[in-house]
Amino acid sequence: MIFEYAPAPESRSVVTLRETYDLFVDGEFRPAEGGEYLTTLNPADETKLAQVAVAGEADVDRAVAAARRAHETVWSRMSGAERGKYLFRVARIIQERSRELAVLESMDNGKPIKETRDVDLPLVAAHFFYYAGWADKLRHAGLGPDPRPLGVAAQVIPWNFPLLMLAWKIAPALATGNTVVLKPAETTPLTALVFAEICQEADLPPGVVNILTGAGETGRALVEHPGTDKVAFTGSTEVGRRIARSVAGTGKRLTLELGGKGANIVYDDAAIDQAVEGIVSGIFFNQGHVCCAGSRLLVQESIAEELLPRLRDRVAKLRLGDPLDKNTDIGAINSAAQLERIRELTDSGAEEGVERWSPPCDLPSTGYWFAPTLLTGVSQAHRVAREEIFGPVLSVLTFRTPEEAVAKANNTPYGLSAGVWTEKGSRMLWTAERLRAGVIWSNTFNKFDPTSPFGGYKESGYGREGGRHGLEAYLG
């Protein structure tokens, strides 16, 4: 007997969209000086969600000045305990409004409600809750007897986990006594603007958090503004290089969380069913829009013939469609531009001779969609083995010995994440020790926690977010 899935859409009624959203500066919403707006779309159906102000240089000036004033007059003078209480309050309001934020995030980003509801939002609230508790304990963080905030932090975040990346940036910065000017991504600004409302609701002093929406130019103006003490960026390696260059010689502190091409190594003794689940969550979680995705599957040759059919069977059962449907596994690609990048790179694989497979999969007629895809017969020289696709596309390679697995896994300029699947503890530890990556998931994948430091080796960036380590980026 075959059970069919009935539609199970989450209600949108919990979200009240405004026609236009302005910048959040010094505790108030105000239009951009230049009067310009951009449109943010729902990537699942290309409908317009709202108009969002585009911040220019004058707006950046004003926001940085507000943040400086707030830092000097209020935030850095407040006791850590009181700062912490503000953050606890913010965490609680996020929990209270989490359904609204989850639905809005799915609408603006295209990711399944299952993920925003069960992963993004719980982690966002937990991140604020975690760092709230640090605010009055910084002397015990092993960063010196009297660690001091840096001042004003310029923060630029990507579109793949909009509110979670905001939490990763703002929570540790505020807990350590810094004030922030944050720019959310051009295509996913809405939850950051609701977060601004939450700051008002929490009576956070004006200027402690400032949110400037806009595109690349706004981001550039913010990271190059001479009035900040710290730049924190999550995004592409290409933009990360530019930012590192522009920060050189300014004395500003810098942390970067950039791209990845994570290897997911499956040894011949792995628990195959668990490994298949891990491979799927490693690459298809969040449509593969994950810098730490396990986008290169390295399978031991002796089990490849057994594992790949089982992987295909499992991928064929993934449900692609309406992000607000509670049964959806794979939502929409975030933007037309990203869809084009995924297509171009995946096509390059076909041109270079790799074998491409996707399950039978009806794509909705409007919106941005890409079917889950496996690429086999991939060699290390292929572009799809070297470049970050940032989409639901898995490149499959094989290996014979553990040494070869490690060599192939490390054969990349990136070093953000890696996975190891084996039932043998000593082999797991041996492999984890040799992988040059900041996060190693063994017999699991794509797990996150506020207490767990996250960040890359090599060209995946520097600095850590999360845990005690995450404080270091904001203390001098």
């Binding site: 260059r245 950039l258 984890a432 996060v439």
Partner: protein, 314 residues
């Protein structure tokens, strides 16, 4: 061909820096100062050298003037040594760093004489600097098997997972050693880099490079594997751009890079190379490095944090 600064050629050759007191009727044997690459002491492949003078301007010796190719060779040697050195147990690295202190202690007189000649320090000041340098090796010898416990640990994640973070060496570090602190300053920047399992390519003080070459002889006789520390005497301005741009250099310590630091930092951005900018010690001479407890601040920039997750279950 020797490159010589204006006015020095042929002037008052003087005696070598750490040359022992002359014995009547005996011609002293002088030392040729060379590079230290991959555990060997080659001359610069370029065949160049440059004169090194004392604080008073007297000629002390000729030092090798390292070239771009020497810098590349040094990076190759450091990369080759990295796997083995980083895989040594922390205890073993500590033993070797302590051995460096022991051997340096046995050569106190040589290094003190060098500091008097090259830097014009008083005997007392020179002795203080050498003592502090020996003690610095002891200090970092002790750190090798503590730093992971201080910086790493268990993370109490909200779920049935074992989760643990530990520091790991970042790789090959190009160190621009302080210009005005050729022994204690040099030791203070090199020891933390290798204590943590990194390997180093060091551009020594340009004007006072002889102590670095003497130190290389100590390193070479302390069971430190070849290639863990590679020393280039010469000009930061000539070698630096290549080291900063080198894709196989993982981090730069720009402490001694002076005005060149910003340019090197810009170049390093292309490969996301980690950068330590010149700090408060810069320009303060050997005395700026006397603090006996510099803490972890010179180790953490050259460490990556690796976090490992594993499910807990039966």
């Amino acid at each position: 061909m020797a490159e010589r600064r204006k006015g020095n050629a042929g002037k008052n050759p003087g005696k070598g820096a750490a040359e022992p007191a002359p014995v009547p009727g005996r011609l002293a044997v002088r030392k040729t100062y060379k590079l230290y690459l991959g555990g060997a002491f080659p001359r610069s492949e370029s065949g160049r050298s440059y004169p090194v003078t004392s604080a008073k301007g007297d000629h002390l010796a000729n030092a090798s003037l390292a070239s771009r190719k020497d810098a590349r060779e040094a990076v190759v040697a450091a990369r080759k040594a990295f796997g083995g050195w980083s895989a040594r147990t922390a205890y073993n690295r500590g033993q070797i760093l302590y051995r460096v202190a022991e051997v340096l202690e046995g050569r106190r007189e040589q290094f003190a004489a060098q500091a008097v000649a090259a830097q014009g320090l008083s005997r007392e000041a020179a002795s203080r600097v050498v003592s502090a340098a020996v003690d610095r090796w002891v200090y970092y010898a002790g750190w090798t098997d503590k730093v992971a416990q201080v910086l790493g640990g268990a993370n109490p994640v909200s779920g049935p997972y074992y989760n643990h973070s530990a520091p790991e060496p970042t790789g090959v570090v190009a160190v621009f050693a302080p210009q005005d602190a050729p022994l204690l300053g040099l030791t203070s920047v090199v020891a933390p880099v290798i204590a943590t399992g990194n390997t180093a390519v060091v551009v020594t003080s340009e004007h006072a490079p002889l102590a670095a070459v003497d130190l290389a002889e100590v390193l070479a006789t302390s069971d430190l594997p070849g290639g863990v520390v590679n020393l280039l005497t010469g000009r930061a301005g000539e070698l630096g751009p290549h080291l900063a741009a080198h894709a196989d250099v993982n981090a730069l310590d720009l402490t001694g890079a002076g005005d060149l630091a910003t340019g090197f930092e810009e170049t390093a951005a292309t490969t996301l190379t980690r950068v330590v900018r010149p700090g408060p010690e810069s320009g303060g001479g050997e005395d700026a490095w006397l603090d006996p407890d510099p803490g972890t601040s010179r180790m953490t920039p050259f460490l990556e944090t690796k976090t490992v997750w594993h499910p807990i279950g039966v």
